[in-house]
């Protein structure tokens, strides 16, 4: 998998500072060459043969399910870029403020050619500290972008008071407790915090903060997107867990934006790590549980209209 080209997806609602971040990535002297897939030519101030315009065309797959989608333009562009492999080190996909990140992420799992040659490194969402709370009320896209993020850049922090900043961070955490969050002004942060995160690499999937488990969970009922995380102190039975998670994602896939988890399987020395986007699930046995680690099984679900009690009951029933 190491020879796959890493792809960073840059999302964020209009005006949050995506272009600022992109220009910083492209102009800083890091010795790397990026192919950039953008929506508007001319917004980035870099002359580069590898800047490509995209139209964000979403294809529904022919299985009749509206959550099973891919980005047709991305498939075509990545195919074109990969024929010139060696001319760049990584790909950055910039999406418009109105784009849903799900089809972008699903493309890497559903299109075999893309999945064989490129890997989704991380979904990076730039959020505007001053306006995010408003946007979350009126723009479903803004919520999806927060829910999907592996890395959240809470930008323009200089335009709000410390109390407002804490409040907006709490709102973000209610939607997505598992993302890495950076507070910035003018998107000033080390580029290494944004690129080559391996956030989708199952072995390095972000450890779920215990603070956000059950009791420590923030209840922001105003949000229709909720996150829920559960922990079983001990092992789960794979013969119970696998059918349960497959059934859950088949039935509720349209409402589950993302799920992630690290599980201790009975009689299994290695950690089982899984993640999903809507109905698509990917999971694998990764490194051994270390001697200093307690074998616990944790899962996070982020989505709309999810019945917390039902999912909790289902997950706990898989305990070994």
């Amino acid at each position: 998998m190491s020879d796959k080209i890493p792809v960073t997806v840059l999302t964020g609602y209009l005006g949050a500072g995506k272009t600022t971040l992109l220009n910083r990535i492209l102009s800083e002297p890091h010795g790397k060459k990026y192919a950039v897939i953008v929506n508007e030519f001319g917004e980035i101030g870099i002359d580069n043969d590898l800047v490509v315009g995209a139209d964000e065309e979403v294809f529904e797959m022919n299985n009749g399910c509206i959550c099973c989608t891919v980005r047709g333009d991305l498939i075509r562009i990545i195919d074109g870029l990969m024929k010139r492999k060696g001319k760049f080190d990584a790909i950055i996909v910039e999406t418009t403020g109105l784009a849903d990140p799900a089809p972008v992420a699903q493309t890497f799992f559903m299109d075999q050619d893309v999945g064989d040659r490129a890997r989704l490194d991380a979904v990076v969402t730039v959020a505007d500290a001053k306006w995010l709370t408003e946007r979350l009320k009126d723009a479903p896209e803004a919520k999806n972008q927060i829910a999907f993020a592996d890395v959240i850049i809470l930008n323009k922090t200089d335009l709000v008071t410390p109390a407002e900043l804490d409040a907006v961070e709490a709102t973000i955490r209610a939607i997505n407790p598992a993302a890495k969050l950076h507070r910035t002004t003018k998107c000033a942060l080390p580029i290494a915090d944004v690129l080559d995160r391996n956030a989708f690499d199952l072995d390095r999937i972000l450890d779920i903060e215990p603070d956000f488990l059950e009791e420590g969970h923030h209840h922001h009922h105003a949000e229709d997107i909720r996150s829920m995380s559960f922990e079983i102190r001990g092992d789960v039975d794979p013969d119970k867990f696998m059918p349960w998670i497959q059934d859950l994602t088949q039935v509720k896939g349209g409402d589950i934006l993302r799920c992630k988890g690290i599980l201790a399987f009975r009689n299994e020395p290695k950690r089982f790590v899984f993640q999903g986007v809507h109905m698509i699930l990917d999971g694998d046995l990764q490194r051994d549980w270390r001697a200093d680690e307690t074998r616990v099984s944790r899962a996070v679900f982020i989505g709309r209209n999810l019945d917390r009690e039902e999912i909790k009951k289902g997950f706990f029933a898989t305990a070994a």
Binding site: F41, D49, V52, G53, D55, E57, F59, E60, M61, N62, V70, G72, D73, I75, R76, I77, G80, K83, R84, K85, D111
Partner: protein, 219 residues
């Protein structure tokens, strides 16, 4: 003793070539071997006497189509070029915004077609340009045998267009993403490849009383 002649192996006639870049297409414009390369060049000529002709530069060569007479290429520089046996590239078109050429098709009758996103343009043998805008990206193009009608593969079907008439394209509907298209030599069948592992075919009516018939080929 009867001696049996050793059968000639095909491999004795094979000359390996290192193209040095991803090969987009192989063609024989004017009977000369040509390789269209992703690095933007065309490698032309018989082994040992090849020339590299830079056609699209660093922006890369993305798509190519050929006829017995020429190789037509489309690049990341928004240019469509034609190259014959002499190796002198001629620019057929240059997109002012430099968008990627997504698909290209060439007819032996001299017509060329290309697309950038939802916009499809044709150029006939007299250099006349015609353009249409589709509701989704044109993924694949193919000329009918006579070079008057163009098939366009796109989301949810294919469109058949006569560029020299005012008639809107005929829409062949089939749900899903159609990636490329080809036409049977008799012009009666249109077949597309799809994002799902499937082909879809349409049999066009040969008389007014007939209807379009579908062929589903999944695999």
């Amino acid at each position: 003793m009867i001696s049996l002649a050793t059968p000639a192996s095909l491999t004795q006639h094979v000359t390996p070539l290192d193209a040095g870049s991803h090969v987009i297409a192989a063609a024989w414009p004017g009977g000369v071997p040509a390789l269209a390369l992703a690095d933007g060049a065309v490698m032309l000529g018989v082994p040992g006497l090849q020339r590299r002709i830079d056609v699209h530069g660093g922006a890369g060569l993305l798509v190519a189509a050929s006829t017995p007479g020429r190789l037509v290429t489309g690049g990341g520089d928004g240019r469509v070029c034609s190259l014959g046996a002499t190796g002198e590239p001629a620019e057929i078109h240059r997109d002012p915004k430099g968008g990627w050429i997504d698909a290209v098709a060439a007819s032996p009758t001299g017509s060329v077609a290309w697309s950038i996103g939802k916009r499809v343009t044709t150029c006939d043998d007299k250099g006349r340009l015609k353009t249409i805008e589709l509701s989704s990206t044109a993924q694949g193009l193919a000329w009918f045998p006579k070079g008057y009608r163009l098939a366009i593969a796109h989301y949810n079907g294919a469109s058949l267009w006569f560029p020299n008439t005012q008639t809107p394209p005929e829409f062949l509907e089939w749900k899903g993403a159609h990636l490329d298209v080809s036409i049977s030599v008799d012009g009666r069948f249109v077949v597309t490849s799809m994002q799902e592992l499937a082909l879809h075919g349409w049999r066009l009516p040969s008389k007014p009383t007939e209807k379009v018939a579908h062929m589903r080929m999944s695999g």
